[in-house]
Amino acid sequence: MRSLRNGVLGLFAVVFLLFLSYLVVGSMATEWRFPALFPNGYTFHRWEAVLNRTEWALALFYSFLLSAFVSLTCTSIGLLTASGLSRDPLSTLWLRLCYLPYGLSPVLYAYSMQFFYHTTGMAGTWFGVYLAQFILVYPFAVVLFFNYFDEKMHNLEDIAASLGASRWVRLKTVTLPVLRQPLQTVFAQLFLVSWFDYGITSVIGTGQVKTLTLFVYQYIGESDLYYSALASCLLIAPPLFLWLFHRTFALKPSK
């Protein structure tokens, strides 16, 4: 029984490492068809082509910028909102209202808001996609931060206030330092929601805003295994490396 359990755990590890290596190998395969378990040969020409083509470099750069910006603005505004609303007498109502967009399927949400972007001319622009993603992600931020503004946090802030700290001083010297860890987690989570988004970007971006997820879907549609795998690698690598870096260096105890 014990070995079986360890086996299942090991299986998960192996499966996910296999998935990752499948993407890397697939992006470098010369030919890989049924029934071959491994490609006929390997080539770097796709990677070279991609790294030399401005279209891809720009997609990577703009996708990253978009997600970083969405996450940054949502984290900060979401934090402020949660901190204010949690002290509001109607706080439960506000939290409930957050669930309204929280559970909606992004693609259907995007369709229901499409009209506003078309009439304002924001559809098909990076700013339009930014705004749509912001509106999708912002409630996540509020919900995630809401839990941290409990009685303990309010008491801490109240003590600082009774000692004469203004709102901004309290935020700077009490709230933000206490929430250092959650801030990082929420930022990372929101970044991923935006970085992985396909529904909003494809509908509001009308295919003109080319983020990496759209590239993956385009190549899947063309059943191009090799380029789909490559685009998937580019999509997974940045967050994965940042996370590994964070685990290795930032999480080590400082003393």
Binding site: F12, Y22, F34, P35, L104, L108, Y109, F115
Partner: protein
């Protein structure tokens, strides 16, 4: 605690968090009854009748519900089983790191991998070929894009279970389940009894909010069903997306009616479940 109102924050929240989905909901409804849209000729109920009479819509709705509920329940059950089996190992940081790997796979990539591994010429089929179990791709059972939805469910499970393991592991520690188990054994319960009557109910109750949230997400899942699911009627998001994109422009109001129904279901189920779950928590 000092209660205070910060009016501008409240307005900001209403403007950014509540107004957009509400506006979308109202717009969808108006579009579906002919109140707006390029082809609108006046108020009408015919798009609603068309939608409600369409078998595909009901099939999509029931598929979505069935898959959302079964995948949530299954993931949770499997995860609890694994946590109770592995408790000591999950404490090691490397194992919990492996369990968080699926977080880095966007749904679109999960769909791609699911397809490449489970289709009839995929990696699993190739392994079966080399093992001598099948003679060619056509002998491999169709589980991708097939009415049995097996490929879809399997892919969702593979990417869902590890995250559920992390969540139930957190609850396992937070609720001090192992202490309770020890106490039960000290009072004479066998290991299995302690698991069945103590550990499983505690974890199951604590996993309920997670199940509801993921269930609602899965109900509207789009990318994975798009690539791996049955082509028609598919899951709800896919079905409605196809309607939005169809060449027949008279399908668009029908799609908006479907979106409106979908949004209402999501809203009602989240509010209902959170209310009952909140009560349950307060009663304890």
């Amino acid at each position: 605690m000092q209660k205070q109102k910060i009016p501008w924050l409240r307005w900001l929240f209403l403007l950014l968090g509540v107004l957009p989905p509400l506006a979308g909901l109202i717009y969808s409804f108006l579009y579906s009854i002919g109140g707006t849209g390029a082809l609108s000729t006046g108020w009408t109920a015919r798009y609603w009748i068309e939608l409600l009479e369409e078998k595909g819509f009901w099939a999509a709705l029931s598929w979505s519900a069935a898959i959302a509920i079964s995948v949530s329940l299954l993931s949770s059950g499997i995860a609890i089983g694994l946590v109770l089996g592995w408790k000591n190992r999950l404490d090691r940081p490397n194992w919990s790191a492996i369990m968080s790997l699926p977080l880095f796979f966007p749904p679109i990539v999960a769909a791609f991998i699911g397809y490449q591994w489970l289709s009839s010429s995929g990696i699993i089929a190739r392994m079966a070929f080399w093992a001598g179990w099948i003679q060619g791709p056509e002998a491999f059972p169709a589980i991708v894009n097939s009415p049995n939805q097996l490929g879809l469910v399997l892919t969702l499970l593979i990417f869902q279970v590890p995250l559920f393991v992390l969540v139930s592991w957190y609850h396992y520690k937070e609720a001090r389940v192992s202490d309770f188990q020890e106490q039960a054994s000290a009072l004479g319960a066998t290991g299995l009894q302690a698991i069945r009557t103590i550990a499983v109910p505690i974890l199951w109750n604590r996993m309920k909010p997670t199940m509801v949230i993921y269930g609602v997400f899965l109900f509207g899942a789009y990318e994975i069903p798009l690539v791996l699911g049955q082509q028609y009627p598919g899951m709800l998001s896919v079905f409605l997306h196809q309607k939005f994109k169809r060449y027949d422009l008279f399908d668009i109001p029908v799609a908006y009616a479907g979106t409106f129904i979908y949004a209402l279901i999501v809203l009602a189920s989240t509010l209902y479940f959170f209310k009952t779950l909140q009560k349950e928590v307060q009663n304890k």
